[in-house]
Symmetry: C2
Subunit: 393 residues, 2 copies
């Protein structure tokens, strides 16, 4: 089987075509890095001119993979266009996945990555889901460190500012046959950014959406694939035409709340026992395994008093949100993701009416603010927490 | 709203940035075609060396679109690599869609396209689904005609041989923000091909798949998007590890039969009234609107006697297929698509057992053969049917 051959190729030995010896199929090896520095460095933009994902640093990282030879030599070289045959499978069949992660400048001008191991773990899950090659995540982190250190002058200073990193893996087989890619390119580009929504704590209005469906059990909505994004833009345009920035994706006739497409969704409810409940949807295959989502759950479980709080990953519906709001038991709501970290939600459109979310009027709810600050302190190296912030070196 | 702006931009007038006059937003215009011919023509391969989608003709067609100016000048030029910024949205968010269509050489050496208007209609539906620009399909057909005529020496001769055409539309905005692409590229490449599966009437074995789901209501499985393909390859690898070439995608706990991913699926049943029923799944949003599917239904409705046949687009389940097979009432089954035209199915794996399909033993069922011949006659211009075969000129 071709499939078996490739799997074997990734981790072990592969008989190379046309020879009778066994060739080592190479794993990703950061020690082989070659660096070619730019001779025409770009000017750095002032913080107030940074637009998310529009400008990039001087360099990029690339590693080619082939089914025959495995991972090739990592190369950091000046940021440049990619050249590809028009039949390349990434352009036709969406063999593409990515990660979003950030590098932060701390008060001592050291550069720090936030939980990069979680991104590597997820990137490998995404790769396996669409038959692209997996790799040793720690090796890729070493390489990303080198890229970040080389371009460290692009890492902006200040709360909310960071260098957004975009590891991307694409299939590069030049053939229109639908099959397992036998060539791939892993590349990393870096963009200095401020807050995703333009400024911190600009509340977002969501439209609860059930006529279009983002993800399905047995689909791939739990992986960070390109395929999950383009189909969500037309519903977003429709939501925008009614005054909502993003969709709150529902699932099923029950109206389960899943996620926002670029963020996971969190709600704070008052409960009948006088406590508060922080609720987000469970990892049931229809939502992305957000690193910020995971960080929030872990921080809240460690730092919020269980006398006062229940932290829940459980199914809940838009009807429950609406009922809670009507009874005055919806305290606050926010989205969570790498790009925006936490974004207060101030209203949710549902069947032509708005569910108003308290404490979102031009600002954020209490827990939203607390979490933003907890995470900021770790990201910028002010406080240590479980080695989440790793100095690039 | 940005959305409204772009919609207006496509069909009407748009105020161009930095000026105070209105600029006409251009629609696709074939009369503006520029042709740059190759100076290094490729050798033509003999028919027995043609591999689907691996080699391409001397030229390709390209048309750029921007939200500001609309469709630009169409250019046919030597086949070449595309150069794109690594942040281009097609590589990250799967802003990509395509069509599959074929050009045939008739006995008078004229080149013919099969129902290209259906491909244009579907391509526009795909574009609208992911916020890419739509266009006048007849204009694109004129341009494809010119490409095919320029490269007509690449159109192979002989039954089963043709020039596979791949119109593709990708978003080319260089930005990591998820939003409506403000730049796009429509390109067409052409590959001389034989039969998709290597030879005509090589029966395929399918594995009925319910643990992974290809499409769902409210998703985009009914559009020819790149996003529908990569997530289906891993389940195909699993099916292959058990000896099946493709997946027969089921839907829901009922086990509805949908399609094969690269083909629609047809079954012929004996019915209790002594007639035969040709059955395929309805266009309910979870299957692709196949041009071959549509052609088969129309030909069967016109040419098969209704005393003997019922032609059904209706929901049916894998359980019904299994029951029919057990009772000896499954007569034949086949897949239908542009690449393979019709492919006999000889067995379907389902929960560890095989459903054997009669008349598929090394060859094809009676209706499969009849349909292949009916369609071949029209595609190669031997018989006219409703202007389905259009001479390129």
């Amino acid at each position: 089987m071709t499939a078996g051959l490739y799997k074997k190729g990734i981790n072990g030995f592969l008989r190379s075509a046309g020879t009778n010896i066994f060739t080592r199929n190479m794993s990703l090896d950061a020690s082989k890095l070659e660096i070619i520095k730019t001779t025409t460095p770009k000017a750095k933009l002032p913080n107030d001119q940074l637009v998310f994902g529009k400008t990039f640093t001087d360099h990029m990282l690339e590693i080619e993979w082939t089914s025959e030879k495995g991972w090739g030599k990592p190369v950091i070289s000046p940021y440049h266009n990619l050249s590809m045959d028009p039949s390349t499978c990434v352009l036709h069949y969406a063999f593409e996945l990515f990660e979003g992660m950030k590098a932060y400048r701390d008060s001592e001008d050291k550069i720090r990555l936030f939980r990069p191991d979680k991104n590597m773990e997820r990137m490998n899950k995404s790769a396996a889901r669409i038959a692209l090659p997996t790799f040793d995540g720690e090796e890729l982190i070493k390489l990303i460190d080198q890229l970040v250190l080389l371009d460290q002058d692009f890492v902006p200073k200040g709360a909310g500012y960071s260098l957004y990193l975009r590891p991307t893996l694409i299939g590069t087989t030049a053939s229109l046959g639908v099959g397992i890619p036998d060539r791939a390119l892993l590349f990393v580009i870096a963009s200095p950014v401020g807050s995703y929504y333009g400024k911190t704590f600009k509340p977002v209005a969501l439209e609860a959406t059930d006529y279009a469906v983002r993800a399905w059990p047995g689909g791939s909505g739990n992986r960070k694939l390109g395929a999950n994004y383009a189909p969500c833009v037309q519903p977003q345009i429709e939501a925008a035409s009614r005054g909502y920035q993003q969709n709150l994706w529902l699932f099923g006739k029950e109206g389960y709340v899943t996620e926002v497409g670029t963020m996971n969704a969190f709600f704070v409810f008052k409960t009948s026992d006088g406590k508060k409940e922080l609720v987000t949807a469970p990892l049931d295959g229809t939502i992305l395994e957000g690193v910020t989502r995971d960080s929030i759950l872990e921080l809240c479980r460690e730092r919020l008093s269980s006398d006062e709080w229940t932290i829940s990953e459980r199914p809940f519906t838009i009807h429950e949100v609406q009922e809670k709001a009507e009874k005055g038991e919806l305290i606050e709501a926010f989205g969570a993701g790498t790009a925006a970290v936490v974004s207060p939600i101030d209203r949710i459109g549902w069947r032509g009416k708005d569910i108003a979310v308290p404490a979102g009027n031009g600002d954020a709810g209490e827990l939203t603010k607390t979490l933003a600050e907890w995470i900021r302190q770790i990201q910028y190296g002010e406080k240590q927490f479980k080695n989440w912030s790793r100095e690039a070196k």
